[in-house]
């Protein structure tokens, strides 16, 4: 997920544990990213926002997404990168979600 692995040729030995910052990124941003992605699926996925029983399904897919992010967050080279990448992705996802909600007139 690192931005440009070829040019700077990062040594894998440089990977830092950064337990606290990476874990917090996985726990907190992971959760919000999962909610945002589930939300995008709620609006854009088959059946749209008001499909029968879809809210149950949307709830169920949050933990798998959340825990996937949480589990692999330690692949980031350091905590800062984890926060920036995941934070950025979450920001993009929420922007898309709010634009969707605005566009669909459900604000």
């Amino acid at each position: 997920m690192a931005a440009n692995p070829s040019k700077r040729a990062p040594k894998y030995a440089e990977i830092k544990p950064d337990w606290l910052s990476k874990s917090l990124a996985g726990l907190c941003i992971g959760f919000f990213l999962a909610v945002a992605l589930s939300g995008l699926f709620a609006w854009w996925g088959p059946g749209g926002i008001s499909a029968d029983n879809k809210s149950q399904f949307n709830m169920w897919i949050v933990p798998p997404i959340w825990l996937t992010v949480f589990s692999f967050v330690y692949f980031f080279r350091d905590g800062m990168r984890a926060w920036l990448w995941l934070g950025g992705l979450t920001l993009v996802a929420f922007t898309a979600l709010f634009l969707t909600r605005y566009g669909m007139g459900a604000w």
Partner: protein, 556 residues
């Protein structure tokens, strides 16, 4: 995959595993037993010789008299379609003792006597299976938070760690997976064997563990996730207020009887076996009837039931979202999630498979802790001062042995004790919790007092004894027919005694093997305890062990 990353994930696996293992051991062991919650409910209910069952033709009479005489039942009552050990009467209901939903309530049952007049009796179902289910859901952590047990949230957090432990364990294993997969190496270092066994069980049951961990997170935090989705995704959408209930326009004589309603369901779901028919709010416009039943051909929403809701007057099917085999659209994957956790698909073969998966899960967590201790062992070098192990190694050894075998012994003991308590006229429902917790904590205290090495053998024998009490109690009931003890003799319930007997043999075997093994452990192990006999027999071997240890680098 490179070294540093593997090292990070190995550390992650070590600590998330250690933090979650003991609670998961208890939850998995109790969960394995919960696969047979209903048989255990039947098993723990005393034989009821006075039970008065009725024919289908008498339902209208019973239901009419009940609604007329008992307003608390008219609100909601359940017709039990099949007479079983734990069904006290054809109709049961819970009378709420406060306005609060899900608040305290008392159980009642209704039947007809030989003259066709109503007989109502208060009764409480046996809480033994409920205790095991609670241990499964909370690992025995007491208290409530909102409408959940507090322990459910704790297990939710533990399952976050558990997912990390699963994924990190898998990542650590990946590079050597092919080479090591089916290897069970019995080398000089016993750690190798346990590590191989731990990895083998972990990899083969990986999908099961992922499913369990993720579903438990949902069970714990669904309210919070729904709230977040509601705020951030759905926005302030108008909630649809249900109209206030008004008196029903139907006459009670028009109420459809259970067998007629079941017929309507069979028309669309022929393999559905109706077990409980629950009439709700039948005197209002919100009248409905919910039929709970089994269907081994499909996945079920509940741990052993699927559901369908009908209008009790017209027989119109109002909701078949949870009717096995009739799930549509998004409800289908949702049912799959539930069913994969409960093992509620395919009947008894799948239940036994889940039973053994649950036990193997406990094995995984137990061996994980043993490996943690072993990996941190400071080696004794020959002809040098005695090393002392880290205090934490002793702490973890004591906690693991005490809590794990303590919970196993305590569950068996509570199961057997229930029958004896009932016999002396005490309500075992009050005592189940006390018996469980007192044995559980006594075992932990015992382990800290005796040390893990001695206690592990003693507690394994205790497990054997308390588990043996189950068939012994049954035998006494069989021989002394006058005694108030009981033994249900239907073949599926005798399996409880049989399983307990087999388990007793396994516990004795484990105790003997462990004792044997402990004679060979070197002095630098937390499992070493000075005993004159052991020492004189093995002093020579210890020196050899110590020398071996010196030559080997501290693996892993």
């Amino acid at each position: 995959m490179r070294g540093p990353l593997l090292k990070i994930y190995k550390t992650l696996h070590t600590w998330t595993g250690l933090a979650s293992s003991i609670a998961l051991f208890i939850a998995f062991y109790a969960g394995a037993l919960t696969m047979f919650k209903e048989p255990l409910e039947r098993w723990s209910t005393p034989i009821n010789a006075d039970r008065q069952w009725i024919s289908e033709a008498q339902y209208p009479n019973l239901i009419a008299q009940l609604i007329h005489n008992r307003s608390d039942a008219a609100r909601s009552f359940t017709v039990n379609m099949i007479e079983q050990e734990h069904t006290p009467a054809p109709i049961t209901w819970r009378k709420p003792l406060s306005e609060m939903r899900g608040g305290p309530s008392e159980g009642w049952s209704a039947t007809l006597d030989d003259n066709g007049s109503l007989v109502v009796t208060q009764f409480e179902p046996s809480a033994m299976a409920e205790l095991i289910d609670l241990l499964h859901q909370t690992a025995g952590i007491p208290g409530t938070a909102g409408h959940h047990a507090f322990g459910v949230y704790v297990l939710g957090v533990i399952c976050l760690l558990y997912v990390l432990a699963i994924v990190s364990g898998f990542i650590v294993l990946l590079p050597t997976l092919i080479k090591d997969f089916f290897a069970l190496r019995k080398t000089k270092n016993p750690k190798r064997f346990w590590l191989d066994a731990h990895n083998l069980v972990g990899i083969t049951s990986l999908p099961f563990h992922i499913v369990i961990a993720l579903t438990v997170i949902v069970f714990a935090f669904h309210d919070q996730i729904y709230a977040s989705l509601g705020k951030l995704v759905y926005g302030e959408r108008p909630s649809f207020e249900q109209p206030a209930p008004e008196p029903s326009t139907y006459r009670l004589e028009e109420l459809l009887m259970p067998q007629e309603l079941v017929k309507k369901v069979h028309a669309i779901a022929p393999t559905f076996v109706a077990r409980e028919v629950s009439y709700n709010n039948i005197q209002t416009t919100r009248a409905s009837v919910r039929i709970a039943g089994e269907d081994d051909d499909h996945m079920l929403r509940g741990y052993n039931r699927g559901f369908v809701t009908l209008n009790p007057y017209t027989g119109e099917i109002l909701d078949k979202d949870y009717l096995p085999g009739h799930e549509e659209g998004y409800i289908q994957p949702v049912i799959t999630f539930f069913s994969l956790h409960f093992g509620s698909f395919g009947g008894d073969p799948i239940r036994w498979m889940y039973f053994f998966l649950g036990i193997s899960g406990s094995f995984l967590f137990y061996t994980g802790n043993l490996l943690w201790i072993e990996s941190r062992r400071k080696r004794q070098r020959a002809n040098q001062a005695l090393v002392t192990q880290d205090k934490n190694a002793y702490l973890i050894a004591n906690l693991t042995v005490g809590a794990c075998w303590g919970s196993v012994a305590a569950i068996s003991f509570a199961m057997a004790a229930g029958k004896w308590l009932q016999s002396v006229g005490d309500d075992p429902n009050v005592w189940y919790y006390w018996t469980y917790y007192s044995v559980f904590f006594a075992c932990i205290a015992w382990t800290f007092w005796r040390g893990a090495a001695r206690a592990v053998v003693e507690l394994l024998y205790l497990c054997a004894i308390t588990t043996a009490l189950i068939p012994i109690t049954g035998l006494i009931a069989l021989v002394f027919k006058q005694s108030p003890l009981w033994l249900h003799t239907s073949s599926d319930l005798l399996l409880v005694e049989f399983t307990a007997l087999v388990s007793t043999a396994i516990f004795i075997f484990m105790a003997k093997r462990t004792k044997q093994h402990l004679k060979t452990v070197p002095t630098d192990s937390v499992w070493y305890y000075p005993s004159s006999i052991v020492q004189s027999e093995n002093s020579e071997r210890e020196v050899i062990n110590a020398t071996n240890a010196e030559q080997k680098p501290n693996a892993i």
